[in-house]
């Protein structure tokens, strides 16, 4: 009796342990509830700009609007003029280079290559007016374009190829009176179309993010929390948190999920343990370019073909440009599974004029640093954009061609379709040497994927990484990943140990069987 009680007590203990560890508390973490509460409150603006007389005057130029803004916001200009949205560069310390100024002004990308010599066209996405290659725009605060970010009427638009000036047929009074905090439309008009079209660059930022559903982005979904860009990209004095590593080098002013969700957001300890080495995005963004395709490959070497002396455009099955005479051939993909890399928050960039060390392999234009043993590094999802772009095989530097000009004959590739003159003019603008020889080189850019976050139900499953075949992390081999990795020696040895044991047993049992038969037979005979 006593024994039974003891055994029952022991069983009871085991059952309690089992239930305790298996049961998932189905109350959502309080941080999430608090966040939902916080972001469901709609903030009312403290000022109605429609009542200001100064915004009712007749505006003859966009600069007059800026002047009107500055009559009240009279200490704001220097904030904007210190921002990277205005300067197109920021101060960065890069190991091996020292302090540099890095940005669109001097970096080379593998889309439209670079801004130098093409300012008038590129400035459509500059928060200022009147940009040209002389750079005078940067000193006059009246050239600040307040409206591109603060227009809440959704009617403001910049003119193409006018150095950043708006279309002149706009109702500036309506726009100026509507101003408020930037909305998704303000940010998206540049950030969704970078690289010359929708979703060309990022893959996770595109026009579907203007009014996304929860399926596209769980935070910004209009059927969900409906967050604005600035809810996460918090801003103090026009300095906006968060940046993309196509143009950043230092582990500073980054935006991350943890600032709202903490670094232990799961109820499951094993999942929380992952956050030390795995970024939230890695599991919570299973794929990007969910609504529209993104450009994965850009081959400049095929650009310049003409039909009857005229440039032409070809489309792929999804209706995206597959070939453009002015730009070359493209490959687009939709619903893309990200690549994964270690990233510690620092990057190094190819800058205009840098010597290319090895022209036999792809040149990485923005190398993201990190490894498993790096304390700061986490696995992040990235879009790898590949391209083939012109370089000078003698000087071993990438060519910054002149692409844009208003008229033919100025050497611009988009007008004259001549690599030779476009390279000569472009390198002259960039004050770089040019040997006269042009070759094409494979280049890669790494774009961290941070948006298009899935709901927790649609996150990446454990066994998409922890598996032997087709693991999402198949390419990252500087650490042991349970479920994916094993010791071939132990596995083969173990297999043979078990095979030999079974064979031994089988033979032994067979002998026993016949021996016992024989013994019985003998007994009968006797």
């Amino acid at each position: 009796m006593k024994k039974i009680v003891l055994i029952l007590a022991f069983f009871g203990l085991l059952v309690i342990i089992a239930i305790g560890s298996l049961s998932q508390r189905d109350i959502e973490p309080t941080t999430l509830i608090k966040l939902k509460e916080k972001y469901s409150k709609v903030e009312q603006p403290s000022v109605n700009h429609g009542r200001f007389e100064i915004l009712k005057q007749k505006f003859n130029s966009p600069q007059e609007v800026t002047k009107a803004c500055q009559s009240c916001h009279n200490t704001t200009a220097h904030q904007v003029m210190n921002s990277n949205h205005w300067n197109w560069e920021r101060e960065e310390y890069v190991k091996g280079r020292g302090v540099i100024y890095l940005g669109k002004r001097n970096a080379i990308n593998n889309f439209c290559i670079g801004t130098q010599g093409n300012e008038k066209s590129c400035a459509k996405c500059h928060v200022g007016y009147g940009m040209d290659s002389k750079g005078e725009v940067y000193t006059d605060s009246l050239n600040i374009d307040c409206l591109v970010c603060h227009d809440n009427s959704e009617t403001y638009a910049k003119a193409p190829e006018k150095g950043g000036a708006p279309l002149m047929n706009l109702d500036f009074n309506k726009i100026a009176q509507s101003v408020g905090k930037p909305k998704r439309t303000n940010c998206g008009v540049c950030h969704f179309y970078g690289g010359g079209g929708n979703n060309v660059k990022h893959g996770d930022l595109e026009m579907a993010m203007f009014e996304p559903t929860k399926d596209i982005d769980v935070h910004m979904g209009t059927d969900g929390m409906n967050l604005e860009c600035t809810d996460c990209h918090t801003t103090i004095q026009h300095n906006i948190a968060g940046k993309v590593y196509s143009l950043s080098s230092m582990n500073l002013n980054r935006n991350n999920c943890e600032q709202c969700h903490t670094d232990t957001p799961h109820t499951d300890d094993i999942l929380n343990e992952h956050t030390l080495k795995v970024a939230c995005q890695t599991c919570h963004i299973p794929n990007y370019a969910k609504a529209n395709a993104t450009k994965m490959y850009w081959d400049w070497s095929t650009a310049g073909r003409l039909k009857n002396g005229e440039p032409f455009v070809e489309e792929d099955s999804m209706g995206n440009h597959a070939y453009m005479s002015i730009k070359g051939s493209f490959v687009w993909e939709k619903n893309v599974k990200p690549d994964y890399i270690w990233f510690n928050g620092t990057a190094s960039h190819y800058l205009e004029g840098d010597k290319i060390k090895d022209t036999t392999k792809a040149l990485i234009l923005n190398k993201l640093h990190g490894s498993y043993s790096d304390d700061e590094a986490k696995l992040i999802p990235v879009k790898i954009h590949k391209a083939k772009q012109p370089y000078d095989p003698v000087n071993k530097i990438l060519i910054q061609p002149k692409l844009f000009a208003e008229t033919k004959g100025e050497g611009a590739f988009w007008k004259d379709f001549n690599w030779q003159t476009a390279s000569e003019e472009g390198m002259k603008d960039a004050k770089l040497p040019f040997s006269g020889k042009i070759s094409f080189l494979e280049t890669e850019m790494y774009w961290p994927v941070n948006h298009m976050v899935a709901s927790k139900e649609n996150s990446v499953n454990c066994n998409e990484c922890h598996t032997r075949d087709e693991s999402r992390l198949a390419g990252i081999n500087d650490f042991y990943l349970p479920g994916r990795d094993y010791s071939a020696l132990v596995d083969t040895g173990g297999k043979w140990l078990i095979i030999l044991s079974l064979t031994g047993i089988f033979i032994h049992a067979l002998f026993r069987f016949y021996a016992s038969k024989k013994i019985k037979q003998r007994a009968i005979n006797e």
């Binding site: 055994i7 043993s373 596995d491």
Partner: protein
Amino acid sequence: MSKKQFYIYKGFERFWHWMQAILIFFLAFTGFEIHGTYSFFGFRDAVRYHNVAAYMFIGLIVFAIFWHLTTGEYKQYIPTLVNIKAQLNYYIFGIFRNAPHPTKKTVLSKLNPLQKLTYFGLKILVIPLSLTSGLLYIFYRYPSRHGIKAINIETLEVIAIVHTVAAVLLVAFIITHLYLITTGETLTSNLKAMLTGYEELEDMHHTEQKEKK
């Protein structure tokens, strides 16, 4: 020689044995799924179940150690070289000739020398190896920024491989063990004994008395 039913496996001993059997089976099944050998529960659930079973196993081991120490039953497992050759000879030759078991099973000495050696090895080597590597696997700390460097383990690889080795050895043991339980007086006498606690053994005391007379 007369035979008599002896109570050789106590209640706790049998409970411990079968609980251990179930847990080791379950741990091996979920463990090799985590290892990537096959897929059944799905990686996440396999890990959860494996961890729960691991804690239950540790609990069981604590109770078993207590029982063995307090009852003195641990002495059964102290290895001996006496009769080891005879026992080997029995499995290789004697068993086919219907020869008698060279080691007499008694309540005070119920393990033959090969069993003593194997179980001792399991208790001293394989289970502790499995347990330690398993606990390190659970409490493995990734190289981390603000932690104490000295307790960082730079890689999981060694831990995982040792844990796999221990698991393979256990599986090999179970397979052999399952076969060897059929080598008792009859095919099922050992199994029955472990289920009921009773086994028919030679009544040494009785025999001796008879001989005296």
